[in-house]
Symmetry: none
Subunit: 205 residues, 4 copies
DNA sequence: TGATAAGCGAGACGGTACGTCCGGTCTTGAG
DNA sequence: CTCAAGACCGGACGTACCGTCTCGCTTATCA
């Protein structure tokens, strides 16, 4: 997250970091998150569980929020290449991946806390939000304007509003209530409703 | 919120509470909330601003979350009588009131924090969620089944899913990004999309 | 201590005080004093032990100090008539009665506390100090000037200084160290020293 | 007062204490003592005046009594080497230094309170009493037995009793009544009386 | 005889002060 | 420059308890 040790040029004087510590800390973080939640998670507890010390953690992540964020949403950058194909399938994939991401136990524990910190210190904004739906947020506006051109989508539809609906419902559905609520039927229903909502008149998807 | 002790019979032994303290505390709470946010709000600071002391606050609200909740969402119970009339207008009113409620500065500051506490200590669940959209949450399923009967709504539409979409987008739109994003056009757009989404085939609203 | 109900004139409208409460409170006070000391004695504890309530106590004594003072040094006004006879016997009697008064367990527990309150709020000064050695404080200056006249005492001796020595040693001897330290021999020794100290030159008592 | 931990060898792991905090706290303590007295002095107030916090104070002194004691009677250990010379001058110096020590405003404010705590929790006994007259308490018995040998002092005189008289009068004179009472004449008078009191018969000092 | 006034027990309130937890930082000594 | 150990600083906490107040009742005196 910080000081990606520019492996090419400088030699990073002094003792190199023990890579196992970073791994152990991230692992300990998700564990503790699921056990006690975001608020009660402390750096000291994480360090202790990872068999290291707080300063070693602070050297790697400046903030509890940064640590939790990386632990829960690793920068896998496995950003599935956005498919420019079928609109319905694209939207479904967006919603599904969002819901899956937010449904993991550690994410359920972390997201409200992260959101709260984000509200108080908007510095994290960029870092955190940028990954929330991976590269698919970039795909959406492109595909929508495409759809408007070829008559799949009403011209009035704005991608940003659509994103609010999709992300908002994904967030709400995972954040409140039991996770069982979210099943394939729920996904189908939402996508169906949205597809009908954005379709031009006299056309039935 | 607590101890309106059967106002008819018993007389509540002991010195009665100074009603002005409760008022002052609630007022101070919203002020401080807007100034420093949920996380940095402390009971001591609230008490001090209200010219009283922490114990007086703790006597009234067991938790910072309870205090903030009551300060931001007072139990006005001015639950506007849900109108059983026009569906579009009903939905718009729901969304609008939700957005307005969540757009107040104090609510913007409070909601993520409350949500985080709620995730960690689900005791508040009932208390807090129950009021989020007032009596309108009760109105929705009734009106939807009505709509299904008279052909306004597709039979597959479930009120719960609809609620996820409406609440979720309202929450997301107010929680992230600047409040200016939410304007009448945004409301119209969302309602339009939803109305089209729930309408039966071959019918254009 | 307060409101000596001027038994002659007014009849004190309203319900009269329950005399047993006052007694019980005083008794409870000395008990608790010996058990836990002045600082840890609370009005609530006293009231509870006396089977009554704090307000009933506060109605009688405005302050813990007043209560303790009256409990430990009752205004017996059994002020033994000061004898104007033998000087040595008079001084011995003064020292002895002082030491005995201050040696009671309750007094040992109370005096330092009272002294401390007295230092902080000199209002009690008059009330408390006035009784410390009963009427004998009045006797001393008279008997000393008498002694100077008849050659028992050096003319330079001032009664106030003598009082400092006698009271001071009595206080110190009882306040610090175990009570066993103070025995007849100690008394004799102090009196002997003082008698020699105040005697005129070339005279051996 | 505590933990000057074997200043020779070990280096005390962990972050060292900020020495300025200790100084500032002691200074604030004497100030507040003179302003409001012992009882109303609060650790929190001291900490605040010293621009630090209660925990920092509690780390250094376990009790208000310990703190006040060190603030008022610093362990200067400037224990003036006891002079084995002139008896009268030695006693005068004892009395004078005691009176001066106890006459400082902060000492006048502190002593009764300390005494009261000491009565309730005799743990402090050793700590506090030990310094009350510095090394001179050790000098007295030695010099007295010397004096008995060389005929300056009656053989019956015990140093402990003498100490009661000297300390007791010093304490009483400073503790009650205005400080102006204690002037050189008072000192002379007391010393004169004591010197005559301990002298052998037929000898005039 | 009824009105007045004060004392009483019960119990909660308002507020001071407390002592502690703990989050994040810093120092030391070694690698 | 990193690591581990460990103490320190200070923000915030939640509570114990003190003295007060309110209540409803009781007990005397006074009109």
């Amino acid at each position: 997250m910080q000081s990606p040790p520019d492996s090419i040029v400088a030699k990073a004087a002094g003792r190199p970091r023990d890579a196992r510590i970073g791994q152990a800390v991230l692992h300990a973080t998700t564990e503790i998150l699921e056990e006690v939640g975001y608020q009660r998670l402390t750096i000291a507890a994480v360090a202790s569980r990872a068999k290291t010390t707080p300063p070693a953690v602070y050297r790697r992540w400046p903030t509890k929020a940064h640590l939790v964020h990386e632990a829960v949403f690793p920068s896998t950058s496995e950003d599935v290449l956005p498919h420019y194909g079928d609109l319905r399938e694209g939207l479904r994939s967006m919603l599904l991946s969002g819901v899956q991401l937010l449904s993991q136990p550690s994410a359920r524990a972390a997201v409200p806390g992260l959101l709260a910190e984000l509200a108080a210190a908007p510095t994290l904004h960029a870092d955190i939000l940028s990954r929330f739906a991976g590269g698919e947020w970039a795909w959406l506006p492109i595909r929508i304007s495409q759809g408007i051109e070829n008559g799949e989508v009403r011209p009035e539809v704005r991608a940003a509003t659509l994103l609010d609906l999709i992300s908002g419902s994904a967030f709400l559905a995972t954040a409140v209530g039991p996770p069982e609520r979210i099943d394939p039927q729920w996904i189908d229903e939402v996508i169906d409703l949205i597809m009908r909502g954005i379709a031009p008149d006299h056309e039935t998807n």
